[in-house]
Symmetry: D2
Subunit: 384 residues, 4 copies
């Protein structure tokens, strides 16, 4: 075998997701040794010294910088991971497109449908392949669910339930960071979580064509972050001054899908009980199936009238065989990112767009946007 | 102890529910020996000879008749159970009111909000106590859930999920009986099943004030019943002529509750997988709880951030102690009817209305009616 | 139809089980109307005034007495329910046999294998049909499990797990009642709970032929009951004098079955967590199945390698159809006793022994006895 | 920060486990950046060309060889991973000890207690730190369970249940590879799987002091492997000649622990239903807890009488925080190996033995050996 070619990676923002992207590029080589090129960690940008240090020392980036533009300008950087706070996605993605580099971007890709569409269309115009962090798609159980649906194992799909219930903002003493500000975050749980749910539903069932929605902000105000509080996991206390939460904690949608199915989509970032319960249920004329991210290695399948079978994912389901030798030995969340990295690398190497791409993020943003408009008008809104 | 007084029972229609009412009256004396009167099975009406025979031989009714008016006219009949097909409820209930007899009626009480309101208002005008078959209310787990909510164990209620998924009409070869006809059944799954869900949500959380809804008929046509097919469990085959299903197989609602909570209610009679999965989930600022009729002796409670506890119902939950001596030994569905009978008998004996009554059925009918109107208009509709 | 014949019931001891037997006799007529005779509650014996009063007022016995011999001598009593404390079973059963009356006896039938064998052999000698309270057998899921095993759905049975974990004696302040005394109760959890498990395993798989066992008493002493404490649910406190618990809280067995299967049986009366988790698991060469009394309407079946299906019991499973019209609507514990009553009544009416009988109780007592001997010797012991 | 020191890794055998060790060494640097040295993949040995190629191309080893002795002789190799088939463990481990290199060895460490003790004592004599692949220990739920037990959250431990049920040999057409031969594999499921369970029980509860055991071989013969069949996942068919399986498919033990607790341990490699259901249950006087590898991110805790709470592991449980930012986002099996690599690297760098080590493997081998002897004698056997 010839020495593999190198694909130089530039990383923008070294937070949780930036670290995960970096590890995923490296892991892809282990799990997909047939890839025609190895990713090499070239340059990482972060305004924060600690982030840069972690990139150099723990992750092994050759160079670091405080300015993401250095990454885009670096001739050794072939591909870019955009893991910055959401409100910078649009600016950075457009600059990356201008630099002519394929990119893998976290979601929500933009603060709204305008930003998302500009990114998706910009990349398409330049002929750049992209990837977007719709990681739940890559769970073998989701791949298997999609296959079962396409093969007709549950008949014609009639209705879908998506319920993404999380507690990451459930503590009312959590500080009023940018996530709760409309101008910086755009929508709240709709963009952050329900967009994942909408993507899964569209991935497995088909396009959402119209929605009617309801949104609520259950925790109306939160402590203002203190001057030195960097993280949005920082907590306030009762004596802290408070500010208004500007986007929604909870959203619920009724939806219609292309092809006649209907659905209910619901999401909360302030639920107390479920931790990261991201559930998809698909009902058809001959059966139904259920998945929950908290038990991501399982798929519940009723392919007839006599109850749900709990299937542990196995080597013949999705990408499972690349990770574990037998059913019951579980994959973890990070493995989903390795699959995502692999698909991105393949897209780049083969110069053909594998899913999910910026176009999928745009599509999910349209669902979110329609939900926002419907919540304001009280009416059904078509998803363009 | 003096010889207990007798309350003479008249039964109208000896189907599954009629038999269950009869057994429940008798069982109430065993589980609630302090009741000041015993129910005596006096007279049962059924147009069908087999039903009458079962009433006499197995249940022990003293008299039987083909004409329900005989029951109402019988001076030994003090209280009446109305278990006929839904399309006769209105006529029979009004006749029972005219006869001045308290009654226990199955649901949906009427084919629509008009019939339901006439029954509820008629009984109120005559000062008659009533009971309605919202049996799921009586599960000790629901009683306990309601108490937990009222005591603030989960904080302020923010959102509710009701999902009543059944398969009783999932077989497309099931004959086109009266259940599928709008003039005889009124609505479909909305009245039959979602009304139960709406009642539970209102019982535990509070009044639903507005809804937006979507309904679907997934199995558009069914075989016409053959001449000799008595039951709506009868099956057709491919050669049978077919007719159109006139009411909905599936409904989904977004709802707003008095007091600020919101909710999603969903129901299907044609789901394949769940058998009688009637689930209620209530989320609050400090916790959440979950119940499913299929595991009716359990309540899932998260009263903090660290996950759901599976509580087996125990003697201190609702009416459990009347039925079983210790947690883990399960009550059955029929026991819920015994509680319902007990509450009805107590209402009669004390001449004060315990819940659930015809007024609750009317309230649920208003939710159903608002949903029907919303599904037609695509707009939010207030529940009167 | 002719007026049904009467079978006069005599009840000995009006505690929880006595009341349940009484209700079950009556309910049998409702669920099995084809029975050629109706049970009539003739006479109940209880040394306690309250018990007698409940028998008369709530249950409807015509006569009551403090002396069980009056029941046996009563010519209107055709059949007898023996629900006394265990330490009286032997005396009463032998007297009942002497009186020539078929009986339904609760378990453990005797305080040891000698008492059990004398009862079983006595009844056989007199040609009396009997029934014994192995109620878990009657769960439709157990009936279905047995049928699946016999039909080969899981291949050849290889190994069995029985784990009956309860908390009814878990509170160390529970008083030292007769249950904890060797001369009155015999063994502890072995007779009380594990005997049920052994019966289920033998019912589904086959005869246990040898065991090796280990027993433990985790709560070595308990408060002596106060003079006025009637119930064994009475609690002591720290100042109460204590006495030694004389029988085992916990037992575990390795077992060999006729036909080559092996098994592990385990039971605790002092577990904290499970309430009445009575679990049976059967593994075979082609599949396996699992049942837990706490979810008695469900059966887990893996009939191949791809995971367990949760089957809600349905009308075609065991006696389910006699109780509920469709899957998902649950039976309760009391319904199992109704089935038990029905089988006893049928045995009497047809004068042929249906299972479970005193012979099955004797068989389970042999397993318990072998376990006791093995726990003492540390060796494998054959079950005669 | 200074350039980190390097620890040169030598790998012996490039199968599933060898690959996993290699990735784990690299991942340890990402998840534990504070480690004072980086592992560098120096040399991999495998008799198979494909294994060597994978080591070089996918894993990035600098050198490869067919002879493991080259690895031990390589001066750049500081530490060794022994991932060969079990029957070579003893020879290779002793050679590694002779070479004076710390090693991480997979389990079962030896084919019996003699081999295991020689390895453990040899390493101790030479003062070499070791690690052994008892990977389940590292699950955050197990770490949390152990902590809860030590803090008294469930009171005094009374009894333990270990049930490790797998299906990896359930197919009777699976070829008769070395795993089924006593001279090459030693015991069957006892060494392969139950040893893990014994280790978990000892890790959480304490030392096992005596056992009585029963073993069975349910699939008595298997097709002889064909000449060209390398893998033990190869299948035969009915026409293939068959040979006898020489070690056990199933084992069950009763056990006594230091400190008074008792337990039941059970394991099967031929169960059909569970895939890799490796369950530990610990009961105490105040509560109990349950874990299953198939849902490794969950812990069931009953810290009182009101039922089990399903806790999703969270950043404050074990090493979870090194892998995921919040509860509900799951770790995978490979992450457990990363923790194992980290502990081994720390042991080496700090030159002090962290657990689990060869001594723990020896201890588990003693339990297995006692079980083998007890199964032969039918008596209780002390574990030395």
């Amino acid at each position: 075998m010839s020495v593999p070619a190198q694909l130089g990676v530039g990383l923008i923002s070294v937070g949780w997701m930036g670290r995960l992207h970096s590890r995923a590029y490296l892991a892809a080589a282990h799990h997909y040794p047939e890839l025609a090129a190895r990713a090499t960690l070239v340059m990482a940008a972060d305004p924060d010294e600690g982030g840069r240090q972690h990139a150099a020392d723990a992750l092994g980036y050759r160079q670091t910088t405080a300015d993401y533009r250095d990454v885009l300008a670096n001739p050794d950087v072939d591909i870019v991971s955009i893991c910055s706070p959401n409100f910078l996605h649009h600016e950075i993605a457009l600059a990356t497109i201008a630099a002519g580099k394929p990119f893998w971007i976290e979601k929500p890709m933009g603060r709204g449908v305008r930003e998302s569409s500009e990114i998706a269309r910009g990349a398409a115009t330049r002929g750049l392949v992209t990837s977007v962090g719709f990681n739940y798609r890559h769970a073998p159980a989701i791949a298997h669910a999609r296959r079962l649906v396409r093969e007709g194992a549950i008949g014609t799909v009639t209705n879908v339930r998506v319920a993404f219930m999380a507690d990451y903002s459930a503590d009312p003493s959590g500080a009023l960071t940018w996530r709760f500000q409309r101008d910086r975050a755009g929508s709240g749980v709709l963009g952050d979580l329900l967009s994942h749910g909408a993507d899964l539903a569209q991935f497995v069932v088909g396009r959402i064509t119209s929605v009617t929605a309801m949104t609520e902000t259950f925790i109306a105000e939160r402590p203002l972050p203190r001057a030195n509080a960097a993280s949005h996991f920082s907590k306030g206390d009762d004596s802290d001054p408070k500010g208004l939460v500007e986007n929604e904690d909870y959203a619920a949608l009724l939806a219609r899908f292309d092809g006649g199915a209907v659905g209910v989509l619901e999401s909360s970032r302030v639920a107390v009980g479920p931790r990261a319960e991201y559930a998809l249920e698909v009902y058809g004329t001959k059966g139904s199936l259920r998945w929950d991210f908290q038990r991501m290695n399982e798929l519940q399948l009723a392919d007839g009238g006599s109850g749900y079978r709990t299937m542990m994912m196995a080597p013949d389901n999705g990408e499972f065989a690349r990770f574990q030798p037998g059913a019951g030995t579980g994959m973890g969340f990070d493995d989903l990112k390795t699959i995502e990295a692999y698909l991105f690398l393949r897209s780049v190497l083969e110069n053909r767009q594998l899913a999910p791409s910026a176009a999928d993020a745009w599509s999910a943003a349209e669902v979110v946007d329609a939900a926002v408009r419907s919540a304001a008008s009280g009416k059904w809104v078509d998803v363009p």
